[in-house]
Structures are given as structure tokens and as C-alpha cells.
């Protein structure tokens, strides 16, 4: 039931914001903030359960689940479940949601009701993606988060918003439909083999697939997640969408939407098709990951539009996620989770800072900035922190993520590791480049913008605390993610080709089968 609340609260809050926005333009902000604050309550219950070792007590990897029949004739259920991985993701969603509301506080003046409706519905869709364990429901949420995001870009975006929004929508839509076809393919393969037609992720994990079928179906899933992540040849929607979106939209795009792709790779692509993913596609994927890291860094360095620069750094950072996922061992996976969370915080913060700058200077052009440090010391210092986080300075969260990914990848692919490490140099270049161009040097244009105000300072302080905490003491995140990651790895090592599908398992044991087998570390060599 807790999990259903996490979808229902933002959905209802969105409707309320819309209704109240018709009376008084200022109210929707407060409604959105209150909604997200209320949304934290069920989350904190789960966090508490997780800290109290609820995982072991409930007899499964799942901290909570929620299961209702939806379209029984086709075996579709409204099935949500949260393990530690989902919990981290949803926690990140709500936190960044609050930050997004804060970042748009003064920027969004037009049709506030509809804006916060869209914002909260995107968050509901994203939470749903992180929680759904029925593949149909997963796809439902996957699509549901698109439309509000599209509206956010197209109504409140910057100059080239129409182009950017349509490009974003078309890219994600076609890749999503390919995944949908793959989901249906998996559904029929499983149904024909076992006589039980279901979209239940836990049962579909047992599907025995011929190598060719596994490859094709996996490519369908991979298409959706690779576009979302994004992986280099498919990344072209990202700089446009991130740049043209309003600040809260950029925060959500970079902080959360990209992470749904990463989550999808972790939760679905490799566990459902372990052989196809790890033997067939892994070398290519790791190659593309390296290309993404280097090419993203290179392009970031070439930008003069500050927001576009930050957008390209996402391409580079997400390359590490892809690299880690396909290395698929304990260290790399922990690194992936850390990288997801830390990138969400650091890039979200950078987008907020760029937004603040744009609100003050009415430009994003680095050529029209310079020497701002003396005018806005607080903002400059905060930007410094997140620029350093972005380049992977030890002591800040991103370092942990990238370091663990590189350590993990070293076991499987030395060349890729070495090349990816070169990307870190690139990161230093572009991160320092931001500082250099915008905040140092002479203030040629005589800019005198106002420094961060109270609201922005509070938001930034929260972000800094999180990123420093993640950098100095990442253990809670790693602990929470440990068991779910172990289970995911375990699923892939029990090659489903050899085990006959066991569909006769009674529904009551749903979710617990993963732990019934002995929990042991079996990382791939």
C-alpha cells in the first residue's frame, strides 16, 4: 500500500495544483512543495524499514509490494515492489523533485497550475518506472512520464523549444515502442513455453529463450534504455532537450529521466537476457560507453552555451553507467548506483546554477560572462563545488562512483578502463573551463548580478550536504543497494537456458524465490 501512495500522492497533488492554479497563480508552487513533502512520509517509512534490516525480516529482497489485478485476462497486474535499489531511486526522485520545485520558484510565472501539474505527473511516472515489476505497467509509466515532460519543454522552454520537444518525444517514443514489442515478444515466448501468460517480471526472469530470440528481444529493450541513457549515436535529442527546457525541466531530465535508462539496464536488460547481454552485446556496449565518455567530454568542451555544456557532460558521465552495467560485477554495479545518485545531484545542481545565472544575466553564452566571482561570491563558490564534483574530485560523491566503476571494469576489460579513465581528464578540462570562463578573469562587461537569494542558498546547501556526504560516507547507499545487486547478479549467473521454466510456482511465494536459493557472491570473472 505504501508504494501505491507514492504514485497516488504526486498524481493527486498535480490535479490539485492545476485546480488551485486557476484561482491564484502562486498557490501551485506551495501545493507542489507540500505534495512532495508528504510524499517523503511513505519513503521514510521504507527507509526506516530498510535500516532496521527489514529486508531479511520480510523474507525477500523486497521491502514492500503492492499487487492488484488490472487486466486479468491477459495476466496484467498493477504490481509494484521496492527493493533497496528502487528505494534509492525513488528517494532521489522526490529529493530532486523538491529541488526542481525550488529552482522554478521565480522562473515559472506563466500558467503555474498547469506547470506544476506536469511536474508532479512526471515525478509520478518516474516513481512508477522505478517501482513497477509488471512489464506492462512499467511500459505504461515509461510512456506516462513523457507527455508531461514534453509539455514542460514546449510551453515553458527557451527559444528552440518546439524543435527540442518534438525531437525528444519522437526519439523516446520510437525506442519505447520497440521495447514494447520486445515485451510482448517475451510475453508470448514465456506464455507458449509455460502456458501461463503473464507480464510479471519475476516470472519472466525464468523464461528460457533461444539465443536468437534473446538477442532480438534484448535489442528491443536496449533501444529504449540506450536512447534514454543516452548512448552516443542516440544522444542527439539530449543537448537540445536539456538546453531548451526550463530549469526545473532540465533538473528532472538530467537528474531523473536519464536514470530511468540506467535503471532499466540494471533491472531488465541484463537480468532478463543475461547471456545475450553479457556475451553478445557487452563488448559493443562497452565500446560505445567509452566513446560516450570521450566524445561527450570533447563536445562539452567545445560549447559556448553554458547549459549545453552541462548537457554534454551528462553524456560523458552516463557513459560510466553503461560501462559499469556491462562489466556486471560487484564493484562496477555499486559504482553504477553511486554514479546514478551523484550525477543526479551534481548535474541537477549545475543546471540550477545555470538557470539562476540565466535568470539574472538573460544569457547562457559563456562569451558574455566572465569575472563574476567578485559580484556573486556565494554562487561562484557553490558552482566550484559542483564543478569539482563533476570532474571527480575525491571527497565528493562522483569520485566514488567513477572510481568503483573503473575498478570493476578493470577486471573485465582493461582497454576500456584505460580509455574511460582518460575521460576523467576531459572532465577536469571542461569543469575548470566553466569556472575559468564564467567566474574568473576580468569582468569585461561590468556585470553586477545579485547573489544567491535565501531560497537558492537553502536549496544549494542541501545539495552540497548530500554530495559531500555521498563522497565521504557512501556506505549507507552501498549497503542499501548491496542485497538487490547481489540478487540481480545471482539471476544472471543461473543461466535460464539450463533451468527449465518453473511457472507452477504459487502466487503467494511471488518475490521470495530469489532468496530461496543460497545467497552468494558470484560475480562474473
Amino acid at each position: 500500500m505504501i508504494l501505491a501512495w507514492m504514485i497516488a500522492i504526486p498524481t493527486a497533488g498535480g490535479l490539485l495544483a492545476w485546480l488551485l492554479g486557476r484561482r491564484q497563480a502562486g498557490w501551485p508552487r506551495w501545493v507542489a512543495l507540500a505534495t512532495l513533502a508528504v510524499d517523503l512520509i511513505p519513503l521514510l517509512i521504507l527507509v526506516n524499514r530498510s535500516l532496521a534490516g527489514g529486508v531479511a525480516a520480510s523474507g525477500g529482497p523486497w521491502l514492500a509490494s503492492f499487487d492488484l489485478p488490472w487486466i486479468p485476462a491477459l495476466g496484467i497486474r498493477f504490481f509494484l515492489a521496492a527493493d533497496g535499489l528502487s528505494l534509492i531511486m525513488v528517494l532521489m526522485t522526490v529529493f530532486l523533485g523538491i529541488m526542481a520545485v525550488a529552482s522554478g520558484w521565480t522562473e515559472i510565472q506563466d500558467r503555474t497550475g498547469f506547470f506544476y501539474f506536469n511536474l508532479l505527473w512526471v515525478l509520478a511516472g518516474i516513481s512508477g518506472v522505478f517501482l513497477a515489476l509488471d512489464l506492462f505497467l512499467f511500459y505504461f509509466f515509461w510512456e506516462m512520464m513523457l507527455v508531461p515532460m514534453y509539455f514542460i519543454i514546449i510551453i515553458w522552454g527557451h527559444e528552440r523549444r518546439v524543435y527540442a520537444a518534438i525531437k525528444f518525444f519522437l526519439f523516446t517514443q520510437i525506442s519505447g515502442l520497440l521495447m514494447f514489442v520486445a515485451i510482448l515478444g517475451l510475453y508470448f515466448v514465456h506464455g507458449r513455453a509455460t502456458g501461463q501468460y503473464t507480464f510479471d517480471y519475476l516470472q519472466l526472469l525464468d523464461t528460457s529463450l533461444s539465443p536468437a530470440a534473446a538477442r532480438w528481444l534484448m535489442l528491443g529493450f536496449l533501444a529504449a534504455f540506450a536512447v534514454k541513457l543516452p548512448v552516443v549515436p542516440l544522444h542527439t535529442w539530449l543537448p537540445d532537450a536539456h538546453t531548451e527546457a526550463p530549469t526545473p525541466g532540465s533538473v528532472i531530465l538530467a537528474g531523473l529521466l536519464l536514470k530511468t535508462g540506467a535503471y532499466g539496464l540494471l533491472r531488465f536488460v541484463v537480468p532478463l537476457f543475461p547471456t545475450a547481454a553479457l556475451d553478445f552485446v557487452a563488448p559493443t556496449a562497452m565500446g560505445l560507453a567509452v566513446v560516450s565518455i570521450l566524445y561527450g567530454a570533447l563536445l562539452a568542451f567545445a560549447q559556448t552555451d553554458l547549459k549545453r555544456l552541462v548537457a554534454y557532460t551528462s553524456v560523458s558521465h552516463m557513459g560510466f553507467v553503461l560501462l559499469g552495467v556491462f562489466a556486471w560485477n560487484r564493484l562496477a554495479l555499486q559504482g553504477v548506483v553511486m554514479q546514478i545518485v551523484c550525477h543526479a545531484v551534481s548535474t541537477g545542481a549545475l543546471f540550477m546554477l545555470v538557470g539562476s545565472l540565466q535568470e539574472r544575466l538573460h544569457t547562457r553564452d559563456l562569451n558574455r560572462m566572465g569575472g563574476l566571482w567578485s559580484a556573486v561570491p556565494r554562487m561562484s563558490a557553490v558552482t566550484m563545488v559542483f564543478a569539482l564534483a563533476s570532474l571527480g574530485l575525491p571527497g565528493l560523491g562522483n569520485f566514488i562512483g567513477e572510481f568503483l566503476v573503473l575498478c570493476g571494469t578493470y577486471h573485465t576489460n582493461v582497454t576500456a578502463t584505460v580509455l574511460a579513465a582518460v575521460g576523467l581528464v576531459g572532465a577536469s578540462v571542461y569543469a575548470l573551463w566553466i569556472m575559468q570562463r564564467a567566474f574568473h578573469g576580468p569582468n569585461r562587461l561590468g556585470l553586477k548580478p545579485a547573489d544567491l537569494d535565501g531560497r537558492e542558498t537553502v536549496a544549494m546547501t542541501a545539495m552540497i550536504i548530500v554530495i559531500v556526504w555521498l563522497g565521504l560516507y557512501p556506505q549507507p547507499v552501498l549497503d542499501t543497494a548491496r542485497l538487490p545487486l547481489q540478487h540481480l547478479q545471482q539471476v544472471t549467473t543461473q543461466a535460464p537456458l539450463s533451468t527449465p521454466a518453473t511457472a507452477t510456482r504459487p502466487a503467494s511465494t511471488r518475490g521470495s524465490f530469489l532468496v530461496t536459493s543460497v545467497v552468494q557472491e558470484r560475480g562474473r570473472p
Binding site: A73, L74, V162
Partner: protein
């Protein structure tokens, strides 16, 4: 003939009687409102008798009609869609200076003809139903006869529809010449028995000509050339009626003559033909819609593409295909009526509000209407929470279940292309308009039209979230 023999066709009789009622009323005392009330009452009463009729189904009325549960389901669908069309027409015709009542006579007759098509079991009934429907539609398209565009569209439609009727007749003659039967079940049995090497050119030509006639009514490529012009030229509520009721009835007929799956047996060439038509419709419909700047033309091309999607599931064969096709048809009815309904409430016989520019900034002027239109367009695009998504889900499910991978991939790719022009309309509604002069609050919209749109929107969301009851109903009716 006893009275009980008439029970199977009771709904058609009721609709026919209410058409006569409107005619008498127009002769004695003209009143637009009474005509609408009579029409709606007739259609609702006809729907109300359907459960009673279905208790004894399947019933045969002479050798012409077979009223089974499938026909009853489709009749219900066609009647309800006609009710929506009547209600949407009311506000539109209020702005018409000429006589309004006869419009409803034509509409009721068209609805009756459509149900005859859905219930026909004999080539003669097929032709009768087709002509009752078509002749009423000719007049409906050109109904506001004082405006040039409508007349032009009416003439186009009459010429092309007459040619297609000729094709159908010739096809029937050829089939009768080779098979010696005019009833569908004997023809179907013959098709089933036929081995590929026995397929005879004359019969194949006959079946091909039938497909041409049906294809014309369904507006599928390459028989679609009339569609954009007639859709654009016809009054908006009539366009909605043509796009839904006329197509739905012919689709029901297609399923009856060639049940899904019968295509494979002995009729291999037919299967190939329909598959090519489906592919061509999906590709051409979606690509050509990209080039349009007129909302009605965009919707015309989009409906071509949607019929291509439906044929994809139809080719899958089996009961799953009929369920998918029927559910998609319901989704398509709700959405298309809603989309043309929005155009209708904004238009009048003098001025069709159908240029894309007319919709610029609509969200500012009429937020609710723009929201409704957005929901309809998103449903056409197949976005979750709308019935269009569920419809597409069932289609793809049926097609993937029969491993029609090529068709599915084409469906996926073309429907993404299709998304672009739906988004174009949505974008137009949401963009800020810097240069609009503030003309004060817009004129109020017709009440019946708004209520119909509200009902359609609720249906769109409801079926988009809980499709199971309707799917169960479909399965119980066709099973």
C-alpha cells in the same frame, strides 16, 4: 410472417420508424429541437432493444440477414456513435439558415443502412445496406448546399462511391458465377475448402473487386484518394460520421465475408493483397499527413493510417484478432468522434474552422476544449491513460501473437512518424500568440456538443485505464 419473425430486425425498424417520424414532423411542424429529440430517442430505443434481441441470437431474418451477437455488438456501437453524431450536429446546424430537420432523416437512414451491413449474410443485403448508407451520405456531405465547398465534396463522393459500388456489384456477379452462391457462409465454406492450386482466376477477380469496394469505403491505400477532399469539404459532424459509422459497418462486413484467418486458406493471394494494403495505408497515411496544414485533412490521413493498423491485427487471425480489431474500433470511434467533435463545436456551415492556424493559441482562449482535443490527439497517437493506447496494445498483442514481425515493425515506425503531426496540432494549440488582439471572452459553445465531448473524454480516460470490462463484453459477444 409472424410478428416474432421481425424481432431480429426490431432495432433497424425502430430507427427506420423514427426517420419517418422526423419526416412527418418536418412536414407538419418544423422544429430543430424536436427532430433531434426524436432521432436520439429512436436510436436510444434501438440500443435498448439490443439486449433483448441478443437473448435469442443468433437469429436469421430471411436468408438476407443473420443477427448474431457479433452483429448486435456492432449495431450497438454504430447506434451509439450515431447518437454522438446527432448531438454534435445540433449546435452546428443551429447556425444553418436552410431546413435542418431533413439532415436527421438522412443520418438515421445512414445508421440503419450501416446496421444492415453489419448484419448482412448475403451479397444482396450487403449491397442494399451499402447503398442505403452511401446514398444518405451523398446528401449529408452536400447538406449545407449553399456553400461551394460542401457541394464539391458531395459530387466527388457520389462519383467515386458510385464507381466503387459498380466494382462491388461486378465482384458479386463473378463470385456468383463461379461459386453459385450468394450467402456468406457458403462462400466462406468454399473459400475454406479451396486448395491453393484450385484457385480460379474468375473467383479471385471477384473477391479482388469486392476488396476494392470495401477498401474504398474503408479509405485504405490505394483507394483513399477521395478521403482528404471529402473529409475537408463535408460538414464537420458528417465527416466524423463518415470516419466512424461508415467505416465501422464496412469493417464488420469485411470480418463477416472474410473472417480473420480465412485469408490464409486457399486465398493466399488475398492475404498478400490485404497485407500490402495495410502496409501502404500505414506508410502513406502517416507520411502524407505530415504535409497537411488543415486539421480535417490531417485527421483524414490519420484515419487512413489507423485502418492500416486495424488491418494488421485483422491479418493476425483468430478470435484474438476480432477482439483486438473490435476494441481498437471502439477506441477509434471514441477518439475520432471526439476529434471531429472539437472541430464541429468550433465550426458552422458557413465557416469550417479547420485550418491549423485557427487552432493557434486555443489553449489560452478555450482551455477545456483545447484539453479535450489534446486528449483525443494523444489517444490517436496511442499515449497511455487514453483508450488509444489500450487499443494499440491489443492490436500489437494480436499481431505479435501471430508473429507478424514485419507488419508490427512497420506499425511501430509509422505510428512514431504519425506522432509528429498530432504533436504539431497540440503545439499549435499551446503556443503563445504574440499578436492576437484581445476579442474578449469567446462565444459560448453549443451545450449538447460540449456535453457529448465531455462524455467522450470521460470514456476515453475510463477505457484507457480499465479496458477489461469492455474487452470481456467483446469476447462474450464474439465468442
Amino acid at each position: 410472417m409472424k410478428f416474432a419473425d421481425l424481432i431480429p430486425i426490431l432495432p433497424m425498424i425502430i430507427v427506420g420508424v423514427s426517420a419517418v417520424g422526423v419526416m412527418l414532423q418536418a412536414a407538419l411542424h418544423r422544429s430543430h429541437k424536436t427532430a433531434v429529440i426524436l432521432s436520439v430517442a429512436g436510436l436510444v430505443l434501438a440500443v435498448a432493444t439490443l439486449p433483448a434481441v441478443s437473448q435469442n441470437a443468433p437469429l436469421r431474418f430471411t436468408s438476407l440477414l443473420l443477427i448474431d451477437r457479433f452483429a448486435i455488438l456492432y449495431s450497438g456501437l454504430l447506434f451509439v456513435a450515431s447518437v454522438a453524431a446527432v448531438l454534435l450536429s445540433y449546435g452546428y446546424l443551429q447556425q444553418f439558415d436552410g431546413n435542418r430537420e431533413e439532415y436527421y432523416i438522412l443520418l438515421l437512414l445512414a445508421a440503419a443502412g450501416a446496421t444492415v451491413l453489419a448484419g448482412s449474410d448475403h451479397f444482396a443485403a450487403f449491397f442494399l445496406g451499402l447503398e442505403i448508407l452511401s446514398v444518405s451520405l451523398y446528401a449529408l456531405v452536400a447538406y449545407p448546399h449553399l456553400t461551394e465547398g460542401h457541394i464539391e465534396a458531395g459530387v466527388k463522393y457520389i462519383i467515386l462511391a458510385a464507381v466503387s459500388s459498380a466494382f462491388v456489384l461486378f465482384g458479386m456477379a463473378l463470385i456468383y458465377a463461379t461459386s453459385g452462391t450468394m450467402t456468406f457462409d457458403q462462400f466462406g465454406a468454399l473459400l475454406h475448402r479451396l486448395r491453393p492450386e484450385e484457385v480460379n482466376m474468375v473467383m479471385l477477380t471477384g473477391a479482388g473487386l469486392l476488396v476494392v469496394g470495401i477498401g474504398f469505403k474503408l479509405a485504405i491505400v490505394p483507394f483513399h484518394l477521395w478521403t482528404p477532399d471529402v473529409y475537408q469539404g463535408a460538414p464537420a459532424p458528417v465527416t466524423g460520421f463518415i470516419a466512424t459509422v461508415s467505416k465501422g459497418a464496412v469493417l464488420a462486413l469485411l470480418i463477416r465475408i472474410f473472417p480473420p484467418g480465412a485469408m490464409h486458406a486457399g486465398g493466399g493471394p488475398l492475404y498478400t493483397a490485404i497485407a500490402s494494403i495495410a502496409v501502404a495505408s500505414m506508410i502513406a497515411g502517416n507520411l502524407l499527413a505530415l504535409l497537411q496544414n488543415n486539421v480535417k485533412r490531417i485527421l483524414a490521413y490519420s484515419s487512413i493510417a489507423h485502418l492500416g493498423y486495424i488491418l494488421t491485427a485483422y491479418l493476425a487471425g483468430g478470435p484474438a484478432a476480432v477482439t483486438a480489431v473490435t476494441f481498437y474500433l471502439i477506441a477509434y470511434f471514441v477518439t475520432t468522434l471526439g476529434a471531429f467533435g472539437v472541430v464541429t463545436v468550433l465550426s458552422g456551415p458557413q465557416q469550417e474552422t479547420d485550418n491549423l492556424d485557427d487552432y493557434r493559441g486555443l489553449f489560452r482562449r478555450r482551455p477545456w476544449l483545447a484539453g479535450t482535443f489534446t486528449a483525443m490527439l494523444l489517444s490517436l497517437a496511442g499515449i497511455p491513460l487514453t483508450v488509444g493506447f489500450m487499443g494499440k496494445f491489443y492490436l500489437v498483442l494480436a499481431a505479435v501473437g501471430s508473429a507478424l514481425w514485419t507488419l508490427v515493425i512497420i506499425l511501430v515506425v509509422t505510428s512514431t512518424i504519425g506522432l509528429y503531426y498530432y504533436l504539431r496540432i497540440i503545439v499549435a494549440m499551446f503556443v503563445r500568440q504574440p499578436n492576437t488582439k484581445d476579442t474578449g471572452p469567446p462565444a459560448p459553445l453549443s451545450l449538447t456538443g460540449t456535453l457529448t465531448l465531455a462524455a467522450l473524454t470521460v470514456l476515453l480516460l475510463w477505457l484507457g485505464v480499465v479496458p477489461a470490462p469492455v474487452v470481456n463484453l467483446i469476447q462474450s459477444m464474439i465468442g
